[in-house]
């Protein structure tokens, strides 16, 4: 594939909850450098606080 234009640029993802992690992983898996910035001391966001998720009742972690 043709390497694309512009500088040697990554993507800044603000927020380390489920949405931010998903965005970061998809970018990283497409060989893009990601800076994942989270204001609290750990990743996880709200979802880590939940017990199970509906409707599959999977563990939230």
């Amino acid at each position: 594939m043709t390497p694309r234009k512009r500088n040697d640029n990554g993507v800044l993802v603000l927020g380390g909850g489920i949405t931010g992690i998903q965005a970061a992983l998809d970018l990283a898996n497409s060989r893009t450098k990601v800076y994942l910035v989270e204001k609290s001391p750990s990743l996880g966001g709200r979802m880590a606080q939940l017990d199970k998720t509906f409707p599959t009742m999977d563990c939230s972690i």
Partner: protein
């Protein structure tokens, strides 16, 4: 979470925030402030000794204040990173006081009280805002007494109470006396759908209904003796994939009662601390006081307080609710007003998890446009692999899963038992094996004890096996030498009431796991070249968006459409809610973009056949053949065609919302239906939806569509009534539009399943609609000029069935395609390299379909931006010397894996294509000569498990 922490392309900066963003799309200059942590991330191992020795105890915000933590702490057991942090506001060390306990206890010397943080400069091409939401502060509604009464909790607090790792270890007790409550009430819409100023937000928070339904089911599990659970609600909004079935399942719980009504206030019995709920029953109008043991407020979501500051930094705007404003001109929920800055999840408005995940992927695809790809790793670094030729040295690791496992099973007994099994050289337990610290422990033990087999007795391999395999791989142990025993789902969860038997069963399972592990063989992934092009099937809004996104990333894209032109359902709409965009303009804009791009779009084209596998699909269409590496299915859905319900087909003036849409399309000012201006129009909701016989799910789009049409009619002077079961106006602006419709005088009348509305007429025309008015229990008769049926969405049967046959993507009970995971993999399927977007996997509106189109593009990109793809080695293989070419495997395989080939000696034998084989083992069990072996499930492995189980029994 752990994946993100481990990914080589992701740099995680926690305890940090963006403070400046200069430059423009493709060339942003960001400044990120890393707040002081006072603990060196590189040195801290997360051992926790410092927290043991810290003298300060403060409320734990992760437990919503219900638990305690120290001033130096790790937020929760599975935190990533697991570096500790000092909360300096509560730390004793100050200018005048010296505690230094943590510094003294840290043998890695990681504590630095003088840490002052630092600013890092980062150059990026794009920014994704995924900062989420805040929970509504229920104490803002004084009449509910939250914070005042002991036994009034919020849903987030209940969530922690129900959690096995939470402050009560999953036992439901009420705060005032720690007794198990017998009667619990949920109050919905706290802070959502508010009417007054202090009542919170006007919009619907979308997640709380389903969260309550889930909690009700969990309460029953955690406290089987519960007497009564009451849910006070306005509408139950089960508007998402599988949600309606889940809601229906909860209605089968005899203790659970749904009561329509919004409580006016809660008081507390001063002696017993029982909350007393004052509520008017929305159906009977009866006002009652209901005493319960515990009340749970279903607090909604509000925009994060930090949004306004971040908006300033980013140079973008907030909307009237404080969420980041979306540039609606794209019809997409992901664009902000600044180019190169995208927003997803709850930062832009309330969304549930699956939509947030899809939006996260979608934003990733958008951001890719402004990013540069890192060079492909050519050769994986040579790893030293652990020698497995010697006798098996098995390590057994037991996970407590908080109390999910350890609360029922006797861990000490299991450990003793595991130690007694031959070849087991090490046994160890851990609170959470899946935590960073747990995984590191496993890795260290592999090296220390020269383990060449690892058995984890923990939760389900479905979600956690990959984490363990990856950890083994990192330290050189072949990942297929790892065996997982599910003692949670199969023992502690299902045999909670008989812990002894559960422990005995776990012992058997561990014994069997160890036995199998000894026969495991290292397996190696093969890689095959990837064709770096993609086929998008379906030229509707989701398909076009996916195609455009992929093309923008420089990939070769083919887009095929069955109909004569692109556009899909947009061609049949007039205006698209919520921004009232013209459907025509939107579809024209997309079509023009497709036209101007290098996408090879062909209309009037259908699929004949698809052969092949991820990276290498051979597609035959009615318009020639293609070779592609991945496929996106975006073939949409159909609108349900009513049978004879509500006089459809019998009376001319009973039409569907789709037919009305066409009429509105042609009407300019005064609305005329078939030449006449109607006086009264009645809408009937849920036609062909939420009906277990036809389509069990909620179609989601119809309520907002009805509102949109009702407003249009009402504004030109028509009397409008909407007959409904629940108004499900979820999504951006939907609740606000619902309110507007009511203000304009649209009447909303509820009906229930027992008594559906009836349409009467004569001479081919409907004249009246009869409906049972629930509050007064009397029949209302409405004279009508038109009846509009809000028809739900059903799968496009012919296309879906055909693609299911060709590609083997599973279908759900309603016939839509099934995603890999309803929450975590909304655009992936179980077939590698095949993705879904839009309504083909279930009803969605335009905005959600666009987000899914982008999300599918991100997933495709992650496969085909690489030159090769790795194949799972857990497949079946044929010992051709034993094969007699009977061909039964060829017939039986669903995935076209085996075929008969001619060998060098002229004999014929079966051969299995490793890329097509899913490793299901059907052929192996069927093969009459035993020539086929399922590589990760050999007869030897299975037999060893049986022998271990039956040893001493027979």
């Amino acid at each position: 979470m752990l994946d993100a922490g481990r990914h080589p392309n992701i740099e995680v900066l926690t305890n940090s925030e963006l403070i400046e963003l200069g430059g423009s799309a493709g060339n942003f200059r960001a400044k990120v402030w890393r707040r002081p942590r006072y603990v060196n991330e590189e040195l801290c191992t997360g051992c926790g000794q410092c927290a043991e020795d810290c003298p300060v105890v403060v409320p734990n915000e992760f437990e919503v204040g219900m638990g305690a933590r120290k001033a130096i702490y790790s937020p929760f057991a599975q935190a990533v990173p697991n570096t500790y942090i000092i909360d300096r506001e509560n730390c004793l060390n100050s200018d005048f006081l010296v505690c230094n306990n943590c510094q003294k206890s840290c043998d890695r010397d990681a504590i630095n009280y003088d840490d002052s943080g630092k600013v890092v400069d980062i150059n990026v091409g794009a920014v994704i805002v995924a900062t989420g939401f805040d929970v509504y502060d229920a104490s803002a509604i004084p009449s509910y007494g939250y914070g005042l009464y002991h036994n009034v909790l919020t849903n987030m607090e209940l969530e922690r109470v129900l959690n096995a790792t939470g402050p009560t270890q999953g036992h439901i007790v009420r705060p005032s006396d720690h007794k198990v409550p017998r009667k619990i009430a949920f109050i919905q819409c706290v802070g959502s759908r508010g009417e007054g100023k202090e009542a919170g937000c006007q919009y619907c928070s979308r997640f709380c209904c389903m969260n309550t339904v889930k909690d009700c089911l969990l309460i029953k599990q955690h406290a089987p003796d519960i007497e009564e659970v009451l849910v006070f609600y306005i509408d139950i909004r089960a508007a998402g994939k599988g949600f309606e079935d889940f809601y229906r399942r909860s209605q089968e719980m005899p203790e659970l009662k749904y009561i329509r009504g919004r409580p006016s206030k809660i008081l507390e019995d001063p002696e017993t601390h029982d909350p007393i709920i004052f509520v008017e029953d929305g159906e009977t109008g009866k006002v009652s006081r209901i005493k319960v043991d515990m009340a749970v407020l279903a607090s909604g979501a509000v925009s994060a307080e930090s949004n306004s500051r971040l908006a300033d930094v980013l140079g973008i705007e907030l909307d009237e609710n404080g969420f980041f404003e979306i540039d609606t001109k794209y019809g997409s929920p992901l664009h902000t007003l600044r180019e190169g800055v995208y927003v997803c999840g709850c930062a832009a408005g309330v969304n549930d998890i699956s939509d947030s995940v899809a939006q996260g992927s979608g934003a990733a695809a958008e951001a890719e446009r402004f990013a540069t790809r890192l060079p492909e790793e050519k050769e994986p670094k040579e790893k030293k692999e652990i020698d497995t030729s010697g006798p098996p040295r098995v390590g057994v690791f037991l996970c407590h899963c908080g109390i999910n496992i350890a609360g029922v099973l006797d861990i000490e007994a299991l450990k003793e038992h595991a130690k007694s099994i031959p070849n087991v050289v090490h046994v160890e337990d851990n609170l959470f094996l899946c935590s960073d610290e747990g995984q590191r422990m496993v890795q260290e033990r592999i090296s220390e004890h020269k383990l060449n087999r690892v058995v984890a007795a923990a939760c389900t391999p479905r979600t956690h096996e990959p984490i363990f395999r990856e950890s083994c791989d990192q330290v050189g142990l072949n990942p297929y030498l790892f065996e997982m025993v599910n003692v949670r789902d199969q023992c502690s969860w299902v045999h909670t009431t008989t812990p002894d038997k559960a422990t005995a069963k776990a012992k058997d399972l561990i014994k069997m796991g160890v036995a199998r592990s000894k026969h495991l063989q290292p397996l190696y992934k093969n890689s095959i070249p990837v064709n770096q092009s993609v086929l998008v099937i379906g030229g509707g809004v989701a398909g076009m968006c996916a195609a455009l996104e992929l093309e923008a990333q420089g990939l070769k894209v083919y887009l095929i459409e069955k109909e004569g032109r692109l556009g899909g359902i947009l061609n049949d709409l007039t205006r698209v809610y919520p921004a009232n965009l013209s459907a025509f303009e939107l579809s024209r804009a997309l079509m023009e973009k497709v036209e101007a791009s290098r996408i090879e779009a062909t209309a009037s084209t259908e699929i004949n056949s698809i052969r092949g596998f991820v990276g290498n699909f051979d597609v035959a269409t009615t318009n020639g053949n293609l070779k592609v590496g991945a496929i996106v299915i975006a073939t949409g859905a159909h609108i349900y065609k009513p049978g004879d319900e509500f006089g459809y087909g019998q009376f001319d003036n009973v039409i569907t919302n789709q037919e009305l849409e066409n009429i509105l399309h042609d009407s300019r000012d005064k609305i005329k239906i078939k030449g006449e201006t109607p006086e009264t129009v009645v809408f009937v909701q849920c036609v062909g939806s939420r009906d277990p016989e036809k389509n069990s799910g909620c179609s989601r789009y119809c309520c907002p569509t009805t509102i949109k049409q009702a407003i249009r009619l009402r504004e030109s002077g028509v009397n409008v009534a909407v007959l409904h079961r629940d108004m499900r106006t979820v999504g951006a602006q939907a609740e606000e539009q619902y309110r507007r419709a009511r203000e304009l005088g649209v009447k909303f009348i509820r009906y229930n399943d027992e008594r559906l509305p009836e349409v009467f007429g004569d001479g081919g025309r409907a004249r009246t609609v009869e409906i049972l008015e629930l509050a007064l229990q009397r029949i209302l008769q409405v004279d009508v000029d038109y009846v509009v049926l809000a028809a739900g969405m059903v799968p496009n049967e012919a296309t879906t069935a055909k693609l299911h046959d060709i590609l083997k993507v599973p279908r759900d009970a309603d016939g839509f395609f099934m995603e890999r995971h309803a929450k975590l993999g909304p655009v992936e399927t179980t077939i590698e390299g095949v993705f879904v977007a839009g309504c083909v996997s279930g009803p969605k509106d335009i905005a959600d379909s666009i987000a899914q189109g982008s999300a599918a593009a991100a997933k495709v990109a992650s496969i085909i931006c690489k030159e090769t793809v790795e194949l799972e080695p857990t497949t079946c293989t044929v010992d051709q010397s034993l094969c007699r070419a009977c061909g039964q495997c060829v017939e039986i395989c669903e995935y076209h894996g085996p075929s008969l080939v001619e060998l060098a000696d002229g004999r014929r034998a079966a051969k299995i294509n490793q890329a097509l084989c899913k490793g299901c083992g059907t052929c192996a069990s069927w093969c009459p000569t035993g020539a086929i072996v399922a590589l990760h499930f050999t007869d030897e492995q299975i037999d060893s498990m049986m022998e271990a189980l039956l040893a001493g029994v027979v």
